[in-house]
Every structure is written in C-alpha cells, then in structure tokens.
Amino acid sequence: MGRRHPTRSRVMAHAGLVAGIVLLALPLVLGDLYLVRIFTLVGINLVMVTGLSLLFGYAGQISLGHAAFFGLGAYTSGFLTRLGWPWVAGLLAGVLVAAAGGLLLALPSLRLKGHYLAMATLGFGEIALFFFTEAESLTGGSDGLREIPAAAIGGFSFDTPTLKYALVWATAALVLLLAANVVRLRPGRALRAIHGSELGAQACGIDTVRIKTQVFVISAGLAGLAGVLYAHYIGFVSPSTFTLNLSLILVAMVALGGMGSLSGAVAGTVLLTLLPYADAIIPGLSRDTVAFLQDWESDIHGLVLILVMLFMPGGIAGLGRQLAVRLRRTSRTAEGGAS
C-alpha cells in the first residue's frame, strides 16, 4: 500500500529533504561568510543528531553521553592527522574508535532501561571527559589539540569556509538520506517496535539485543563522524566542548523535533543550533536580545525540554501531524457541506 499512497512519514521525509536542500543553498546564495560558518555547525550537529534520533527517537534508548562519542571522533582524528596521517585515515579511525566506544557502553547497558540507562550513559560521558582532560600526551589536556589540519582528500584540501561547508553538508545529506531509508523500512519498524514494547518486539521475532547493540554502535559512530568533521573544521579541540551540556542539547534537539521523526530531529537541530546566532537569521534583531539568547542558551534549552515534555510530547513533528489531521478534517467537513 505504501507504494500507491505516499504515507505521512514519507511526505514528512520529503518535506525534510526539501527543507534541507533549501538550507544547503541559502548561505551560498547569500554569500555571507558568517552564515556559512553557522550553517556548517548546523550540518555537523545534524550528523550527530541523526545518530541520536535513531537511538533515542526511534529505539527509545536514551543516551546522556553522546558528547563522549563526538569527542572520541574529534580527538582520534585530530591526534592522528597531526602525526601526519591522511585525513581519510583519521576519519575512519575516528568513526571506528567512537563506534567501539559505543559497543563498550552498549554491552553492559543492554539490560538497563529508562533512568538507569540515562545514568550509565551519563557516567560514560563523564569518564570520557575526565580522559580527555587528563590523558595529556594524547589529548593535550585542558589546552586541547591545536593546529589540526583541514580536511583533505588526495591533494585537495577543504581549507576555505565554503569548501568546509560543502564537505560537512555533503556528509550530512548522505547520512540523512541513509537514515531516512533505514527508518522507513524493516529495520526502522524494528527500532520503533523496541521503543513500543520490548516483549512485544520479541514476540514478533525481533532480536532486541542485537538491534539495540547495532543502533548504539551506529549512533556512536555517527557522533564520531560529526566529531571528525568538527575537529577539522575548527582546527582545535579541547575538553570544554564535550561536556554533559552538549549531550543534553542533543537530547533536547531530538525531543523538540519529536520522538521517532527524522525530519522533526532535523528541525529541532536547526532551531536549537541557530538559537544563539539568531542575529544572523533575523535581520535587525537588537544586540541586547542576541546577548540574552547567548547568555541564557543552556537555560533556554532546559526550558524547551521541559515545555516540550509537558505540552508538546510529539514535538514539532507531532504538531505537524496534528495540523495535517485537522486540515484533512476541515476539508472533509467542507466536502460534506457541499454535497
């Protein structure tokens, strides 16, 4: 049936894709370097949030430690490329190390649910942060790693803001496309089934242990990929980036977008990443307002999380669905009235 009638989720996915392409083109068309920089950050966050959306939004497994995987990717690739490894090798190593970290955390966490899983992943994040700060010979300690070379493939270096932007968004688009295909098909159903009821999923023949491990590893690997992009974009990594605060923002992005909706997660990521840079998007915003948004950024994220949980449990995607239902109902009543 899904073939003949485009399902709502598919329409949403297409809408998300179109929105993504518009976002992609916008800064380039405007030719504003500030915008290009901000949207590069949006792209990096999108890669990370896509992974968290699969894990948390679809499979319902919370992670308060995703900053750790982001950091593992960033440090691994930063460290290796400084030693002279090619960027592509650093990229692969960064993703693999982060994914291995995900596996390490997944195995003991598989038996944990809800608050207990939240605590375990939070603990992992703190351990990783401690490691980033203390393992000075590898990570440069609290000074961090400086002069990380820009991404380069073969002899071609992505060393201008626009090239970096293009690299990040090409990666983000690829990741989103793959994820959108995964969630629409059989594996996506299995993820959502685990979220709905693990016993029910088992009763359907779904290997819940394997799927939870896989999605944990994939999610960590994507965060690692985002970390690699970040390290070579900024050229500098230090522990202050990979704190619990970042992990919480990522969770807020998924929740604001709506659980179990990839396009929602995209919307949540764009909104919350742009929040402190509102002046770049909305012209004529007063300096005070921008300063307020930046100073209170964390508080606003927290508030958003609370308000979404209380009043908008379906997130932005849920609002969209409600709106669609209401529109259909009105059009139906209108038809009824006409006949």
Partner: protein
Amino acid sequence: MLSVQGLVAGYSAAAVVDGISVAVSAGEMVTLVGANGAGKSTLLKAIAGAIPVRAGLVSIDGEDVTNVPAHRRVGKGIVLVPEGRMLFAGMSVDENLTLGAHLRTGPAARRAVAEDRERVFGLFPVLAERRRQAAGTLSGGEQQMLAIGRAMMSAPRVLLLDEPSLGLAPKVIGEIFSALDVLRDSGLGMVLVEQDARLALRHACRGYVVRTGRVALEGPAEELLDNDDVRLIYLGAWHETKG
C-alpha cells in the same frame, strides 16, 4: 507438537514455576487455570523464551528449543500473545501486523504474508476498518484482537495466550473466543492462561490446574469443570451449589 517437561523458571531465587510439564498438539487448546501468582504467566514467558529457564525442556516436534533465544522461537512457530497485549501503540494497525511478519522476508513470503493479513481481517473485520489508526487509540477488545492478529502474522504453530479476556466486556470476550475456536479448528495449537477458569475450560480440550508453581490436577476440560475442588476454588461455584 509442543512439549514442556519439568520446567523450572522464575525471576528471583524462588522458582515461580517449579517443575511443570505441559503438552499440546496441533488443533488442540489446553488451558492453565489457577489463582493469581500461581506461575501461569511465568510459565508462558519461559516457553516463549522471554525469561530464562533454569531446568527442564521445551521442544517442538521433537526439536529441543530450551536454549533458543525468544526471537528465534518465533521462527519455530512458538508465538506469545503477551499479557497486556504489548502492542506498538504509536504505530498503525497495519504496521503492527507487518511487524508480526517481521521474520517472513523475501519475495516468496510476501504473498503468504498478504494472505495472512487478509485472514486476520476476515477473522476481525473491525481491524480492517481501523487499519490506518494508531494501535493505542483502539478499544481494549480491538487491541486484544490486534495482539492475536499480530501473532497470526508470524505463521505460528502454537499460540501462547496470556489472559486474553483481561478487562474486556463479555460480548467482546465472546467474539475473541469464537475467533480462537476458528483458529484452533484450522490446526493451530494453543496454550491458554486465563483468570476466568470457567471460560477457559469451556473452550479448551484439556486443562491443567496450577498451584504454587506445580500442576495440582490435570485432565479433560469437562472433567475439571465437574470436579468439586475445581468448582469450589477456581470457578466460584460455592454460591451456585449452596445458594
């Protein structure tokens, strides 16, 4: 077909199921009756593989599946309809049914899956009307129908039914049990756990009375219905005979 021998299982140190043996053949419904906490649900979960077995044997057609994980037992034809239905509330009726057929992949299975879906809709027409509706918005009876329908999509050989009548109105219970009768007559084996012992014994062929993790009594359902102890303790017949 399905044979359970000397099964011991339980969540903590104390065994909730303490050496139960049960057998069911194709086209037969057997029922486990007993008080709350007697170990009936635990037994079903252990047969389904959802909780570990400490001792004993579960086999289907002579194949030992005691150490086969839960999700692979579904492929062997042992399918649980869990207590509380455990549907995927946010997903549509259709998606829930599709998930029931999760293991049946490939072009060869597609046709059979489509036929089974029609069969479920034939059995429970109301599900066809609500196929695009989210499972969580169905009535209790419809949800139970969907839980059974979802299990049917796995091409089961034995259904393990955990309290299918729980919280439902008598009329709906009647509909569900006549559907179960149809499925049984089509050759499906069923192990039914029910609080409502009278209902269960009326539909089942044989019954097991479970008391503190063991089988206290077993026999043909009609005999158990007439048994004085069973009538007194599990059927609440005291008032009928004396009053």
